[in-house]
Amino acid sequence: MECSDCKELIVSWSSGDLPPSGKESIEAHIGECPECRLYMSQSDRVWNLLGEWREVEPRSDFVSCFWDRVSKEERESGWSVFSYVRKLRLNWAMAGALASVLIVGIFTFALFKPDSGFETYADNDARDEQILLELDDATTRETTDALSIYGPWENTVEIMKINGYGDMN
Protein backbone atom coordinates (compact mmCIF):
# COMPACT_ATOMS: atom_id res chain seq x y z
CA MET A 1 0.00 0.00 0.00
CA GLU A 2 1.20 3.51 -0.84
CA CYS A 3 1.72 5.97 2.04
CA SER A 4 -0.88 8.36 0.53
CA ASP A 5 -3.47 5.56 0.53
CA CYS A 6 -2.57 4.65 4.09
CA LYS A 7 -3.01 8.28 5.23
CA GLU A 8 -6.45 8.35 3.65
CA LEU A 9 -7.35 5.20 5.56
CA ILE A 10 -5.92 6.60 8.78
CA VAL A 11 -8.20 9.66 8.59
CA SER A 12 -11.19 7.49 7.74
CA TRP A 13 -10.35 5.26 10.65
CA SER A 14 -10.04 8.26 12.99
CA SER A 15 -13.48 9.40 11.81
CA GLY A 16 -14.91 5.97 12.50
CA ASP A 17 -15.63 5.34 8.85
CA LEU A 18 -13.47 2.32 8.23
CA PRO A 19 -14.42 -1.37 8.15
CA PRO A 20 -12.30 -3.79 10.24
CA SER A 21 -10.45 -4.97 7.13
CA GLY A 22 -9.21 -1.40 6.57
CA LYS A 23 -7.88 -1.25 10.09
CA GLU A 24 -5.88 -4.42 9.49
CA SER A 25 -4.35 -2.88 6.36
CA ILE A 26 -3.29 0.22 8.31
CA GLU A 27 -1.77 -1.82 11.09
CA ALA A 28 0.19 -3.89 8.62
CA HIS A 29 1.53 -0.74 6.92
CA ILE A 30 2.40 1.36 9.96
CA GLY A 31 4.27 -1.60 11.42
CA GLU A 32 6.85 -0.99 8.74
CA CYS A 33 6.44 2.72 7.94
CA PRO A 34 7.53 5.30 10.57
CA GLU A 35 6.12 8.18 8.50
CA CYS A 36 2.58 6.80 8.51
CA ARG A 37 2.93 5.84 12.15
CA LEU A 38 3.71 9.49 12.87
CA TYR A 39 0.82 10.59 10.69
CA MET A 40 -1.57 8.40 12.63
CA SER A 41 -0.50 10.05 15.85
CA GLN A 42 -0.77 13.52 14.34
CA SER A 43 -4.23 12.83 12.97
CA ASP A 44 -5.71 12.23 16.39
CA ARG A 45 -3.71 14.94 18.09
CA VAL A 46 -4.73 17.58 15.55
CA TRP A 47 -8.37 16.58 16.03
CA ASN A 48 -7.89 16.96 19.77
CA LEU A 49 -6.08 20.27 19.23
CA LEU A 50 -9.23 21.68 17.62
CA GLY A 51 -10.87 21.17 20.98
CA GLU A 52 -8.41 23.69 22.43
CA TRP A 53 -10.44 26.41 20.76
CA ARG A 54 -12.65 26.80 23.78
CA GLU A 55 -16.17 28.08 23.84
CA VAL A 56 -16.91 31.62 24.91
CA GLU A 57 -19.59 32.37 27.46
CA PRO A 58 -22.18 34.68 25.90
CA ARG A 59 -23.74 37.40 28.02
CA SER A 60 -26.44 36.10 30.32
CA ASP A 61 -29.02 38.68 29.20
CA PHE A 62 -29.02 37.42 25.62
CA VAL A 63 -32.72 36.55 25.67
CA SER A 64 -33.87 39.84 27.21
CA CYS A 65 -31.65 41.76 24.76
CA PHE A 66 -33.35 39.84 21.95
CA TRP A 67 -36.80 40.96 23.08
CA ASP A 68 -35.56 44.55 23.45
CA ARG A 69 -34.43 44.33 19.85
CA VAL A 70 -37.80 42.95 18.75
CA SER A 71 -39.62 45.80 20.55
CA LYS A 72 -37.29 48.35 18.98
CA GLU A 73 -37.89 46.94 15.51
CA GLU A 74 -41.64 46.96 16.06
CA ARG A 75 -41.50 50.61 17.11
CA GLU A 76 -39.45 51.44 14.05
CA SER A 77 -41.88 49.58 11.83
CA GLY A 78 -44.56 51.94 13.23
CA TRP A 79 -42.49 54.84 11.91
CA SER A 80 -42.32 53.08 8.58
CA VAL A 81 -46.00 54.00 8.02
CA PHE A 82 -44.85 57.62 7.87
CA SER A 83 -41.98 56.58 5.67
CA TYR A 84 -44.51 54.94 3.37
CA VAL A 85 -46.48 58.16 3.16
CA ARG A 86 -43.25 60.00 2.43
CA LYS A 87 -42.45 57.48 -0.26
CA LEU A 88 -45.70 58.40 -2.01
CA ARG A 89 -43.80 61.59 -2.96
CA LEU A 90 -46.83 63.87 -2.76
CA ASN A 91 -45.93 67.37 -3.85
CA TRP A 92 -46.67 70.35 -1.61
CA ALA A 93 -49.73 71.49 -3.63
CA MET A 94 -51.28 68.03 -3.33
CA ALA A 95 -50.48 67.89 0.37
CA GLY A 96 -52.01 71.36 0.86
CA ALA A 97 -55.16 70.37 -1.01
CA LEU A 98 -55.53 67.24 1.12
CA ALA A 99 -55.07 69.25 4.30
CA SER A 100 -57.71 71.80 3.16
CA VAL A 101 -60.23 69.08 2.42
CA LEU A 102 -59.60 67.63 5.86
CA ILE A 103 -60.09 70.99 7.62
CA VAL A 104 -63.27 71.83 5.66
CA GLY A 105 -64.61 68.38 6.49
CA ILE A 106 -64.03 68.87 10.21
CA PHE A 107 -65.79 72.29 10.21
CA THR A 108 -68.74 70.98 8.21
CA PHE A 109 -69.15 68.13 10.63
CA ALA A 110 -69.03 70.55 13.56
CA LEU A 111 -71.65 72.86 11.98
CA PHE A 112 -74.23 70.21 11.21
CA LYS A 113 -73.81 68.20 14.33
CA PRO A 114 -76.75 68.84 16.76
CA ASP A 115 -74.91 70.48 19.60
CA SER A 116 -76.82 70.56 22.92
CA GLY A 117 -73.82 69.80 25.03
CA PHE A 118 -73.03 73.42 25.94
CA GLU A 119 -76.65 74.26 26.86
CA THR A 120 -76.94 71.21 29.02
CA TYR A 121 -73.74 72.11 30.71
CA ALA A 122 -74.83 75.72 31.25
CA ASP A 123 -78.23 74.67 32.68
CA ASN A 124 -76.66 72.20 35.03
CA ASP A 125 -74.05 74.67 36.02
CA ALA A 126 -76.61 77.39 36.83
CA ARG A 127 -78.75 74.97 38.81
CA ASP A 128 -75.75 73.78 40.83
CA GLU A 129 -74.74 77.35 41.55
CA GLN A 130 -78.29 78.24 42.70
CA ILE A 131 -78.35 75.27 45.08
CA LEU A 132 -75.00 76.32 46.54
CA LEU A 133 -76.19 79.92 47.02
CA GLU A 134 -79.39 78.77 48.74
CA LEU A 135 -77.42 76.51 51.03
CA ASP A 136 -75.03 79.30 51.86
CA ASP A 137 -77.91 81.69 52.69
CA ALA A 138 -79.61 79.12 54.89
CA THR A 139 -76.42 78.46 56.81
CA THR A 140 -75.82 82.17 57.40
CA ARG A 141 -79.43 82.65 58.54
CA GLU A 142 -79.17 79.71 60.99
CA THR A 143 -75.86 80.99 62.35
CA THR A 144 -77.30 84.48 62.88
CA ASP A 145 -80.42 83.08 64.61
CA ALA A 146 -78.27 80.87 66.81
CA LEU A 147 -76.00 83.73 67.87
CA SER A 148 -78.99 86.02 68.69
CA ILE A 149 -79.77 84.05 71.89
CA TYR A 150 -76.59 85.50 73.44
CA GLY A 151 -78.01 89.00 73.19
CA PRO A 152 -78.18 91.79 70.65
CA TRP A 153 -75.13 91.88 68.43
CA GLU A 154 -74.02 95.22 67.19
CA ASN A 155 -73.55 94.03 63.73
CA THR A 156 -76.50 91.64 63.61
CA VAL A 157 -78.47 94.00 61.42
CA GLU A 158 -75.45 94.57 59.22
CA ILE A 159 -74.94 90.86 58.85
CA MET A 160 -78.58 90.37 58.04
CA LYS A 161 -78.49 93.22 55.56
CA ILE A 162 -75.46 91.76 53.89
CA ASN A 163 -77.25 88.46 53.62
CA GLY A 164 -80.49 90.07 52.40
CA TYR A 165 -82.45 89.64 55.61
CA GLY A 166 -82.54 93.34 56.56
CA ASP A 167 -85.95 93.84 55.02
CA MET A 168 -87.38 90.92 56.98
CA ASN A 169 -87.08 92.84 60.25
Binding site: D17, W47, L50, E57, P58, R59, F62, V63
Partner: protein, 190 residues
Protein backbone atom coordinates in the same frame (compact mmCIF):
# COMPACT_ATOMS: atom_id res chain seq x y z
CA UNK B 1 -42.55 15.17 19.79
CA UNK B 2 -39.13 16.78 19.67
CA UNK B 3 -39.02 19.51 22.34
CA UNK B 4 -37.62 22.12 19.91
CA UNK B 5 -40.40 21.47 17.42
CA UNK B 6 -42.99 21.67 20.18
CA UNK B 7 -41.54 25.02 21.36
CA UNK B 8 -41.47 26.33 17.79
CA UNK B 9 -45.10 25.31 17.22
CA UNK B 10 -46.07 27.10 20.42
CA UNK B 11 -44.16 30.16 19.19
CA UNK B 12 -46.09 29.95 15.96
CA UNK B 13 -49.34 30.07 17.89
CA UNK B 14 -48.24 33.26 19.67
CA UNK B 15 -46.43 32.00 22.77
CA UNK B 16 -43.32 34.21 23.03
CA UNK B 17 -42.32 32.45 26.24
CA UNK B 18 -41.77 29.29 24.20
CA UNK B 19 -39.42 31.18 21.93
CA UNK B 20 -37.48 32.46 24.94
CA UNK B 21 -37.11 28.85 26.06
CA UNK B 22 -35.97 27.85 22.58
CA UNK B 23 -33.33 30.57 22.62
CA UNK B 24 -32.13 29.57 26.08
CA UNK B 25 -31.61 26.05 24.75
CA UNK B 26 -29.59 27.10 21.71
CA UNK B 27 -28.12 30.58 21.96
CA UNK B 28 -24.82 29.49 23.46
CA UNK B 29 -24.21 27.04 20.61
CA UNK B 30 -25.18 29.58 17.97
CA UNK B 31 -23.01 32.33 19.46
CA UNK B 32 -20.03 29.98 19.56
CA UNK B 33 -20.64 28.69 16.07
CA UNK B 34 -20.69 32.24 14.70
CA UNK B 35 -17.75 33.20 16.87
CA UNK B 36 -15.66 30.37 15.44
CA UNK B 37 -16.86 31.19 11.97
CA UNK B 38 -15.94 34.88 12.19
CA UNK B 39 -13.43 34.92 15.07
CA UNK B 40 -15.17 38.05 16.35
CA UNK B 41 -16.77 37.70 19.75
CA UNK B 42 -18.76 40.93 19.94
CA UNK B 43 -20.26 40.50 16.49
CA UNK B 44 -21.10 36.89 17.21
CA UNK B 45 -23.71 37.85 19.81
CA UNK B 46 -25.32 40.43 17.52
CA UNK B 47 -25.30 37.99 14.63
CA UNK B 48 -26.76 35.24 16.82
CA UNK B 49 -29.60 37.62 17.65
CA UNK B 50 -30.04 38.21 13.95
CA UNK B 51 -30.36 34.43 13.46
CA UNK B 52 -33.09 34.17 16.09
CA UNK B 53 -34.77 37.28 14.73
CA UNK B 54 -35.03 35.67 11.28
CA UNK B 55 -36.55 32.57 12.81
CA UNK B 56 -38.96 34.62 14.92
CA UNK B 57 -40.05 36.68 11.94
CA UNK B 58 -40.81 33.55 9.93
CA UNK B 59 -42.55 31.74 12.81
CA UNK B 60 -45.96 31.96 11.12
CA UNK B 61 -44.67 29.93 8.18
CA UNK B 62 -42.94 27.31 10.31
CA UNK B 63 -43.48 23.70 9.31
CA UNK B 64 -41.84 20.97 11.36
CA UNK B 65 -40.31 19.24 8.36
CA UNK B 66 -36.72 19.01 9.59
CA UNK B 67 -34.97 18.99 12.91
CA UNK B 68 -34.98 22.49 14.38
CA UNK B 69 -31.21 22.54 14.95
CA UNK B 70 -30.46 21.94 11.27
CA UNK B 71 -32.68 24.87 10.32
CA UNK B 72 -31.00 26.95 13.02
CA UNK B 73 -27.47 26.18 11.85
CA UNK B 74 -28.39 26.68 8.23
CA UNK B 75 -29.50 30.22 9.04
CA UNK B 76 -26.48 30.75 11.30
CA UNK B 77 -24.20 29.66 8.44
CA UNK B 78 -25.89 32.04 6.02
CA UNK B 79 -25.75 34.94 8.46
CA UNK B 80 -22.06 34.27 9.22
CA UNK B 81 -21.11 33.86 5.60
CA UNK B 82 -22.96 37.02 4.58
CA UNK B 83 -21.27 38.94 7.39
CA UNK B 84 -17.81 37.69 6.47
CA UNK B 85 -18.33 38.52 2.81
CA UNK B 86 -19.92 41.89 3.48
CA UNK B 87 -17.35 43.07 5.96
CA UNK B 88 -14.53 41.32 4.17
CA UNK B 89 -13.08 40.55 7.53
CA UNK B 90 -9.36 40.53 7.01
CA UNK B 91 -8.06 41.25 10.44
CA UNK B 92 -4.41 41.00 11.22
CA UNK B 93 -3.33 38.61 13.92
CA UNK B 94 -2.89 41.55 16.33
CA UNK B 95 -6.43 42.74 15.72
CA UNK B 96 -7.76 39.24 16.22
CA UNK B 97 -5.96 39.03 19.53
CA UNK B 98 -8.04 41.95 20.76
CA UNK B 99 -11.20 40.01 20.14
CA UNK B 100 -12.80 37.02 21.78
CA UNK B 101 -11.04 34.51 23.97
CA UNK B 102 -11.93 33.58 27.49
CA UNK B 103 -13.39 36.74 28.95
CA UNK B 104 -14.11 37.77 32.48
CA UNK B 105 -13.19 34.55 34.23
CA UNK B 106 -10.46 35.29 36.77
CA UNK B 107 -9.99 31.58 37.48
CA UNK B 108 -8.43 31.01 34.07
CA UNK B 109 -6.90 34.42 33.70
CA UNK B 110 -3.40 33.03 33.95
CA UNK B 111 -1.17 34.93 31.58
CA UNK B 112 0.66 32.00 30.00
CA UNK B 113 -2.49 29.99 29.57
CA UNK B 114 -4.29 32.96 28.10
CA UNK B 115 -1.53 33.65 25.59
CA UNK B 116 -1.49 30.00 24.58
CA UNK B 117 -5.25 29.95 24.13
CA UNK B 118 -5.27 33.11 22.03
CA UNK B 119 -2.44 31.84 19.91
CA UNK B 120 -3.95 28.43 19.37
CA UNK B 121 -7.37 29.95 18.69
CA UNK B 122 -5.94 32.16 15.98
CA UNK B 123 -3.89 29.34 14.52
CA UNK B 124 -6.95 27.10 14.33
CA UNK B 125 -9.08 29.92 12.93
CA UNK B 126 -6.57 30.59 10.18
CA UNK B 127 -6.28 26.90 9.37
CA UNK B 128 -10.08 26.63 9.19
CA UNK B 129 -10.28 29.78 7.11
CA UNK B 130 -7.97 28.24 4.54
CA UNK B 131 -10.39 25.34 3.95
CA UNK B 132 -13.03 25.43 1.24
CA UNK B 133 -16.29 26.72 2.73
CA UNK B 134 -18.10 23.38 2.79
CA UNK B 135 -15.22 21.54 4.41
CA UNK B 136 -14.97 24.26 7.04
CA UNK B 137 -18.70 24.22 7.80
CA UNK B 138 -18.83 20.42 7.85
CA UNK B 139 -15.99 20.23 10.38
CA UNK B 140 -17.41 23.02 12.51
CA UNK B 141 -20.83 21.41 12.65
CA UNK B 142 -19.57 17.91 13.36
CA UNK B 143 -16.61 18.73 15.59
CA UNK B 144 -17.82 21.75 17.56
CA UNK B 145 -21.60 21.67 17.40
CA UNK B 146 -21.92 17.93 17.75
CA UNK B 147 -24.21 17.49 14.76
CA UNK B 148 -24.41 14.07 13.15
CA UNK B 149 -23.40 13.57 9.52
CA UNK B 150 -27.12 13.37 8.69
CA UNK B 151 -27.85 16.72 10.37
CA UNK B 152 -24.82 18.37 8.79
CA UNK B 153 -26.03 17.05 5.43
CA UNK B 154 -29.35 18.84 5.95
CA UNK B 155 -27.58 22.07 6.84
CA UNK B 156 -25.33 21.85 3.81
CA UNK B 157 -28.12 20.49 1.61
CA UNK B 158 -26.03 17.59 0.38
CA UNK B 159 -25.77 13.84 0.90
CA UNK B 160 -24.35 12.18 3.99
CA UNK B 161 -21.56 10.77 1.82
CA UNK B 162 -20.64 14.27 0.70
CA UNK B 163 -20.44 15.47 4.31
CA UNK B 164 -18.15 12.55 5.18
CA UNK B 165 -16.02 13.49 2.24
CA UNK B 166 -15.85 17.16 3.29
CA UNK B 167 -14.86 16.22 6.82
CA UNK B 168 -12.30 13.73 5.55
CA UNK B 169 -10.62 16.14 3.13
CA UNK B 170 -10.78 18.98 5.63
CA UNK B 171 -9.17 16.83 8.31
CA UNK B 172 -6.31 15.86 6.02
CA UNK B 173 -5.62 19.52 5.24
CA UNK B 174 -5.84 20.49 8.90
CA UNK B 175 -3.32 17.81 9.85
CA UNK B 176 -0.83 19.34 7.42
CA UNK B 177 -1.52 22.88 8.59
CA UNK B 178 -1.70 22.26 12.30
CA UNK B 179 0.91 19.57 12.93
CA UNK B 180 3.69 22.18 13.43
CA UNK B 181 1.58 23.61 16.27
CA UNK B 182 1.14 20.35 18.11
CA UNK B 183 2.80 20.27 21.52
CA UNK B 184 6.35 19.02 20.91
CA UNK B 185 6.09 20.01 17.25
CA UNK B 186 4.18 16.86 16.42
CA UNK B 187 7.38 15.10 15.58
CA UNK B 188 6.91 12.06 17.73
CA UNK B 189 5.00 8.98 16.87
CA UNK B 190 2.96 6.40 18.73
Amino acid sequence: MDIDIELMLRTKSGDDGAFSELMRRHYKGVVNYIYRYTNLKENSEDLAQEVFLRIYRSRKNYRPEAKFSTWLYKIATNVSLTHVKKKNVNLSLDEMNDEGGEIGDPEIDIAADLIYRKEIKDVIFQAMESLPEREKVAIMLCKYEGLSYEEAAQVLECTVGAVKSYVHRGRMKLIDKLKPHLPGGGEYGV
